[in-house]
Symmetry: C2
């Protein structure tokens, strides 16, 4: 029986990018299906009283070390984004609008790469538009989606769904009734979809 | 060459208890030596601006799930302590005073078991004394150490050492110049002392 991994993500989170890079190997090994669910990490923080972990400076420094270890082990290119933190709401609305269309995968890849692989200020509308164009996507189409009230509401609803199921950060994974938090729990996620 | 794992711990942290239970197997596999360094988690939080993770309710609920998973996988008995959070300063001073003596190992075991295996209110002086007596330790001797100004100062100094090396929570491990945070990073700690 094929199992599904719900992957609740915000492109603003570098650990979520690591999870995005690691998921294909898990899919290849297990045959699981991944459902990408765009959520707004800032909205989750606000609803739960959580805060970005890097606000505690020592924790932020540790996270850089820790992420670099995982990136090296998994052969993932991960770069610090000098413009971090970047407001991701427009990007996450674009992704919400692109769900179920052929745009979704190239859009997701372009946004994640722009955030964490060849990092630039993806909160800048011109840089965002140029990134989309370079990925073969029409910035006007993506932006129109991001401005659609129904799509905006759908992102809010997805964020509320995340919180209602116990999410307090990203990445969060659901396998059936089970919740997993953090790219460092992907071994547990893989076990949950195996056998 | 024998490698050393510095294990910075506070008995008030259940994830630190998990680490304590998991370390012997790592020692057996690698031949590493563990140096137990008592620190005051509250002092680390204060110095770094960090806070107990369970203050975010959803994060606290997740941690219960997550700790139970690790406990089950590692066959560790871990129980919720209904009196949590418990002020651990007297216990941590006792442990600081017992470093380098034959009391240290049985004291540590008795305190951790009292906190997380057969949980009781270890912040209560009578319960603490009874726990020590049951472990074959003289409560008067342990308490005298805990009230020694030099031992109090040594715990403060150990906590400052932890912060100076980048700690922001517990458990924290150092292997040479490398820092690791969390019982969930013990696989990385083990790799650091292997080969």
């Amino acid at each position: 029986m094929t199992k599904t991994i719900e992957f609740l993500f915000d492109v603003g989170s570098p650990t979520t990018f690591l999870a995005h890079r690691r998921l294909p190997a898990i899919v290849a090994r297990t045959g699981a299906v991944v459902t990408y669910i765009p959520v707004l990490l800032g909205g989750i923080f606000k609803a739960t009283g959580n805060a970005p972990p890097g606000l505690v400076a020592a924790r932020g420094r540790w996270m850089q070390i820790d992420m670099a270890r995982y990136a090296a082990r998994e052969a993932i290119t991960l770069a610090h984004n000098p413009d971090f933190p970047i407001n991701t709401i427009t990007m996450m609305r674009m992704l919400t609008g692109a769900r179920g269309t052929a745009d979704f995968a190239p859009l997701l890849e372009a946004l994640f790469v722009g955030m964490w692989e060849t990092p630039r200020n993806m909160g800048d509308p011109d840089i965002l538009a140029a990134t989309l164009t370079a990925a073969g996507l029409d910035p006007a189409v993506q932006l129109a989606r991001a401005q659609d009230p129904e799509i905006k509401a759908a992102l809010v609803k997805a964020t509320e769904y995340a919180v209602s199921r116990g999410a307090f950060g990203a990445p969060t994974f659901f396998v059936g009734d089970e919740i997993f938090f953090g790219q460092d729990r992907l071994d547990w996620v893989e076990a949950a979809v195996t056998g």
